[in-house]
């Protein structure tokens, strides 16, 4: 059974969740990687081999590669012999795999936290309804697509690294009616993407618009900066930082909510995180209902003291 993993790469560099997806894919069959766009760097091919990829299938999608119909056709061209496709569950990939499924008859589960083969069929696990329910779903179609959330599988290298064969898949992009008028690259303001970060420190209304402490705490913990809808609506921080059902859904090992009340839309985007910590002035804030550890107090008092204690512990 060949299982294809769609590589996630931004600005030409392999993204961390691909290795998680590859680790999951190894439990479902023999993993190959599908890489859309310009060919990967040799060190990225080596990393994919270290996590069990037997083959890297490169599809040069050309100038229209960002159009969903083209990406879906490219994925189809690279997966004729494949019965399971694993992708990272992003808004863009959901578009790609929906079109892919329409063309191939595949069954799709997105936002999964895990998958296994049961009697040959793929069974997925998801948390739904603002992460208040766990459901298991069986994919009934002969071909399965699983969209997995970042940070839900721990990436583990194989004992003996493989040297994947790099194969160029013949592809001519279908004609499309959509025209890409402009593409303006987003330069991430930190090295780590919000949806891939192992730690997220978020600030909300309680910051009053001052993210200095939030950024400092995120840096100290090696994490990314998040925000509530209130904060992005105020224009205090860019929408790309918004954690929630319509922004970015995150599942880090540690989520720190500072000055965030915990509205249902926000909780839906972070409630499946490993450990949740909250700092809020309001003892009745709903965020405390889902926090493993909460401090009722001002983030302007609590965060500097916490950072000092952590630095002291580390001997910094």
């Amino acid at each position: 059974m060949t299982v294809a993993v769609l590589a996630e790469h931004r600005h030409g560099t392999l993204g961390g969740p691909t290795l998680e997806a590859l680790t999951l894919a190894r439990t479902l069959g023999t993993p190959v990687v599908v890489w859309l766009g310009d060919a990967p760097h040799a060190d990225d091919v080596a990393r994919l081999g270290a996590y069990g990829a037997t083959e890297v299938r490169v599809v040069d999608t050309g100038a229209t590669g960002r159009i969903p119909a083209v990406a879906a056709a490219a994925l189809e061209a690279a997966t004729a012999d494949v019965d399971v496709v694993v992708v990272i569950s992003t808004f863009v990939n959901k578009e790609t795999v929906t079109r892919y499924a329409m063309a191939t008859g595949a069954g799709v589960v997105v936002d999964a936290s895990g998958a296994q083969r049961v009697d040959g069929a793929i069974v997925t696990e998801q948390t739904v309804f603002a992460a208040t329910w766990n459901i298991r779903t069986r994919i009934e179609a002969p071909r399965a697509v699983v969209g997995v959330r970042p940070n839900t599988t721990r990436a583990v290298p194989v004992d003996q690294p493989l040297t994947p064969t790099v194969v160029e898949v013949p592809f001519s992009a279908p004609a499309v009616r959509e025209t890409l008028v402009a593409v303006e690259a987003v330069v991430p303001d930190q090295g780590i993407a919000l949806d891939e970060a192992p730690v997220v420190v978020s600030g909300g209304r309680g910051t009053g618009g001052d993210y200095t402490l939030i950024r400092e705490f995120a840096d100290l913990l090696g994490g990314a900066v998040g925000a509530s809808r209130d904060a992005t609506d105020e224009g205090w921080i860019g929408h790309e930082h918004m954690v929630g059902q319509t922004g970015t859904t995150v599942t880090p090992a540690l989520y720190v909510a500072c000055g965030i009340s915990g509205a249902v839309h926000h909780r839906g985007g972070m409630q499946a995180s490993g450990t949740i910590v909250a700092v809020n002035m309001d003892p009745d804030a709903p965020i405390f209902e889902i926090a493993d550890f909460g401090v009722v107090g001002s983030l302007f008092d609590v965060l500097p003291q916490a950072m000092a204690a952590i630095r002291e512990h580390r001997g910094q």
Binding site: N134, V296, V302
Partner: protein, 264 residues
């Protein structure tokens, strides 16, 4: 401009829900139009208003309660409403739902051509956000999804959107008719006013069955779904939760917790 908006009935997000035999059971009947569909109706209204002529048509699929979704759209300014309701639709997956919506859209389009179909980016109660793309593929119209801004040029019959993606901001255009999905960044939805609420009451909602749309019952519903929910269970509450009040050492306590868990 004739703009059709697809809308979905969703229960109050705060209401209790459970699963029965793999299907969602909503407890309590507090529900309305999916909140993110308000952005779709608003986008459609703005297109019609900018062109000074045309109308917004609301379409939903679902059980008897789903009519509340198109009623809400009427209150926001839509002037026609369609509701596809049929017992055989229950349990459909996203592809089945999209097939029903596409058939209804083709029927409406054949009576008088549509210029645009607008959807929300996702249903807040949903298990996917795949419907807009599935609808595009069924209709075989150009795809302008996840729009944070939308402009329609009536002279060139072109729609142009902005897509704010994690790695890039895209500007994409396509000829009409096209399918657009809008994000909650696209606009600030208006509130229904008294005049529209009163006017909406007198607008009839056209109800269609699958047979009216020429869809075989076997093509949709649970039996045609490509996925099946095996079981569902409420997530257990987090155990051993602690909340401390900062009386001068809240930060130290927080640090101690993180260090103990190996997180700092």
């Amino acid at each position: 401009m004739r703009v059709l908006v697809t809308v979905k009935f969703t229960p109050d997000l705060q209401s209790h829900r459970s699963f029965t035999d793999g299907a969602v059971t909503r407890i309590g009947d507090d529900g309305s139009m999916n909140e993110l569909d308000e952005n779709a109706v608003e986008a459609a209204m703005q297109v019609v208003e900018a062109h000074g002529e045309g109308e917004v048509i609301a379409l939903t699929v679902g059980g008897a309660d789903a009519v509340a979704a198109v009623r809400k759209a009427l209150q926001l300014g839509a002037t026609q409403a369609f509701h596809v309701s049929d017992d055989a639709i229950a349990g459909s997956d996203v592809f089945g739902t999209a097939a029903v919506l596409a058939a209804a859209i083709r029927t409406i389009d054949s009576q008088q051509p549509l210029d645009l179909v607008v959807t929300g980016m996702a249903a807040l109660d949903g298990l996917t956000s795949m419907l807009p793309t599935a609808l595009v593929a069924h209709l075989d119209w150009p795809q302008l999804t996840l729009a944070s801004a939308l402009e329609v040029d009536g002279a060139t019959r072109t729609a142009t959107i902005r897509r704010d993606l994690p790695d890039a901001h895209e500007t994409v255009s396509a000829p009409l008719p096209a399918v657009v999905s809008v994000t909650d960044e696209a606009n600030k939805p208006r509130y229904p006013n008294f005049k529209l609420i009163m006017a909406a009451r007198s607008i009839p909602v056209t109800t269609w069955s699958l047979a009216d749309l020429g869809i075989e019952a076997s093509a949709v519903g649970a039996s045609a779904a490509r996925t099946r929910v095996l079981d569902a269970s409420p997530r257990p509450p987090r155990e051993n939760r602690q909340v401390v009040t900062d009386t001068g050492n809240g930060g130290t306590a927080l640090a101690a917790f993180l260090i103990e868990r190996g997180l700092a």
